[in-house]
């Protein structure tokens, strides 16, 4: 294929031009058929009618009557376009307005269009010959020189029209190609900019809301999502760089210190054990990170189904009641008998466990934590409230970020990943995590939509 046709714009333009030309040609053909063709058919019909009439005369009155009728018809022919020639078996003229039998006319029943000389004038005629009894021949025709001129005129006009159509097709094709290129250049310029590293670029919308705008919107949505994922990856790698460096450095220091300074085997053992514990902590952080990444990737949606959360949530409450009690706090759970939802029960259970774990951890002595859940038409709301220090308003949006630890949480154990996981689970289910002020304390709401519809993470 020509390299030119590798351009989709040229291809579309060629298709446009081709379609236009084909339809114009079809129109021209139809016009031709219904005008020039119609004239031809009228002529032929007239000749046939003549032939019919003359053959009746011949049957009634013999050759003589036929000669008389031909003379009559010629005399009565106002338009002076009728042509008759009666010839004997040797094709010699007996009667009629042609001087001699045209040499070209040999076959019976076929229309011929040929130049004739009639009364000294050259002209064009459409004729047909008939064989008569006794070996005589009859030629019936019509002078079609006027019609031929008309047909010529029509042909010229149509040819000119085709030339104009061709020109218009070319111009139209160029316009189509230009439009195509302009629309695409918008998208491709954006793509090039993004490939070059400028992730903030977006495809501009024409505002017409047409298919190209829809495409642009889809592409922009995709870019937004990629941007968010990239931002997430950047955050995680930063977090890993900063937050895991500390425990790794601590474990390393312990081991080096022990290998240099441990005086007794017992000291050495103790140092190694502490370093192992540090490393276990790092592994736990990695596992939490991987799990969040796994959830955010959305692959677990394949395992979604209709679930009842009543038992899993009751399990969480039961598990943490003892923990709360040991810390001098109380955990009360108010859960309905049935909590239908759509999703992954194990993940939601883990998310709620994280919320309750946090609440119990930050609860003051004698404080109370509550776990409630409500199903409504809009969806499911699981609420965990504590009487702890809460999260200041300006920190609330940052709290679910990976490794984020609020001021109040600096001195409690934790990885800073608990709320990240809750957020990831919420988004996987098309819901959201809301952190509100319980005055005092924190009110964490895990809202899940009622149906199976899941949002984009």
């Amino acid at each position: 294929m020509f390299p030119l046709f590798r351009s989709a714009g040229v291809r579309f333009a060629a298709i446009y031009a081709g379609l236009l030309a084909v339809s114009a040609a079809a129109l021209a053909l139809y016009l031709w058929w219904s005008t020039a063709g119609l004239l031809d058919r009228q002529t032929e019909a007239a000749i046939r009618a003549d032939a019919q009439g003359l053959s009746e005369r011949l049957a009634d009155g013999g050759l003589r009557a036929l000669v008389a009728t031909v003379a009559d018809r010629l005399a009565g022919n106002v338009d002076d376009d009728a042509i008759y020639l009666l010839a004997d078996p040797a094709f010699l003229r007996l009667s009629g307005n042609l001087d001699h039998w045209p040499a070209a006319v040999r076959e019976v029943g076929t229309f011929y269009e040929l130049p004739v000389t009639r009364a000294g004038m050259r002209s064009l005629a459409r004729v047909q010959s008939y064989d008569l009894p006794g070996g005589y021949h009859l030629l019936i025709g019509r002078d079609v020189v006027v019609r031929a001129q008309l047909r010529q005129l029509l042909t010229d006009a149509l040819l000119w029209a085709l030339v104009i159509v061709g020109a218009m097709a070319t111009v139209g094709a160029l316009v189509v190609r230009g439009l195509f290129r302009r629309t695409l250049s918008n998208v491709s310029a954006t793509a090039i900019a993004i490939a070059g590293g400028d992730l903030a670029q977006r495809v501009t919308l024409s505002g017409r809301g047409d298919e190209f705008d829809q495409l642009a919107e889809v592409i922009n949505d995709m870019l937004d999502r990629i941007g968010r994922l990239m931002e997430g990856v950047r955050q995680v790698s930063n977090a890993i760089a900063h937050d895991l460096r500390t425990p790794i450095a601590r474990a390393r220091t312990r081991l080096e210190d022990a290998s240099l300074h441990a005086g007794t085997t017992a000291e050495l053992h103790a140092a190694i054990e502490r370093a192992t514990a540090d490393l276990d902590g790092i592994v736990a952080v990695f596992q939490a990170l991987l799990r969040i990444a796994e959830i955010e990737a959305g692959s677990r949606r394949a395992a979604f189904g209709r679930i009842d959360l009543a038992a899993p949530l009751a399990g969480v409450a039961e598990m943490y009641e003892a923990v709360a009690e040991e810390r001098g706090a109380t955990l009360t759970a108010d859960l309905p008998d049935r909590l239908p939802a759509f999703g992954d029960a194990a993940l939601i259970q883990q998310a709620v466990a994280n919320l309750v774990d946090n609440a119990v951890k930050f609860s003051p002595d004698g404080g109370s934590v509550s776990l409630t859940a409500q199903a409504s038409a809009r969806g499911l709301e699981i609420v965990v409230t504590d009487g702890g220090p809460g999260i200041p308003k300006d920190e609330r949006s940052k709290a679910p970020q990976r490794f984020y630890r609020g001021e109040a949480a600096r001195h409690t154990p934790g990885s800073g990943l608990g709320l990240s996981l809750v957020q990831a689970v919420a988004q996987l289910h098309g819901g959201q995590l809301r952190l509100e002020d319980a005055a005092p304390g924190l009110r964490a709401v895990l809202a899940l939509p009622a149906t199976g519809e899941t949002g984009v993470v």
Partner: protein
């Protein structure tokens, strides 16, 4: 017990083999899939510790599937660096009895292998569990110690049942989480310790000899303390 370890990493394999031998087991080791499969099929073991990813063209899942297709029901513990849920499910579906993610604490591995090897030997469903003077009736769901009735919450009952079924063995916190609570994630707080300590209040505190022992860096075990 006779245990087969199929693991290609020299350090991990050496560590596991040494540890299992120290715990009193007979250990065979294969460092590739082909030998591992051959040994697993041709010899009799009480348990197999199987790494998922092995050199030699035959990976752990393949070995497992071959074993199971030959009606070999030797308990298999899968060791893997692949932690995500799908991998775990894949391993268990292929016929694995337990799944442990690397890195792991040796105590965790030992406890799980011993639990698996023992499970293969239990004789039919019991209706009554007895450890020293502690008795559990699984039908009437009653617990008695030294003839004295002990009232337990449903979850405490299941926790004690799990400990009694594994009496004399070490059970780790993760095993309890999975076996009693069916949780496959690690709660940040040591919830298991809290629940075990509550159980102790009821089962051990009123009696002279404590049965629930804490094993440092490992978990718990149920047995009378030997002095």
């Amino acid at each position: 017990m006779r245990i087969l370890v199929v693991e290609d990493d020299k350090d991990v394999a050496g560590f596991v083999v040494r540890g299992l031998k120290e715990a009193g087991h007979t250990v065979e080791h294969a460092d590739n899939g082909r030998d591992g499969l051959f040994m697993a099929v041709s010899e009799k073991f009480d348990a197999v510790v199987l790494d998922r990813m092995l050199p030699g063209g035959i990976d752990g899942i393949k070995i497992l599937e071959t074993l199971r297709s030959q009606q070999n029901i030797t308990p298999v513990l899968i060791l893997s660096a692949l932690a995500d849920v799908n991998e775990r499910v894949k391993g268990l579906k292929a016929g694995g009895d337990d799944y442990l993610t690397k890195p792991f604490a040796f105590a965790e591995l030992l406890a799980r292998v011993e639990a698996l090897a023992r499970r293969g030997k239990t004789e039919g469903p019991a209706t009554k569990l007895t450890v020293e003077d502690l008795e559990m009736d699984l039908l009437s769901r009653q617990v008695k110690r030294a003839g004295q009735k002990i009232d337990l919450q449903p979850r405490e009952f299941r926790l004690l049942e799990y400990l009694m079924r594994h009496a004399g063995q070490v059970v780790t916190r993760t095993m309890l989480l999975e076996g009693v609570w069916d949780y496959h994630f690690d709660p940040q707080t040591n919830v298991i310790d809290v629940h075990v300590s509550r159980l102790r209040q009821k089962v051990d505190k009123p009696f002279p000899v404590p049965l629930i022992q804490t094993i440092r860096n490992a978990g718990y075990t149920l047995r009378a303390e030997r002095v």
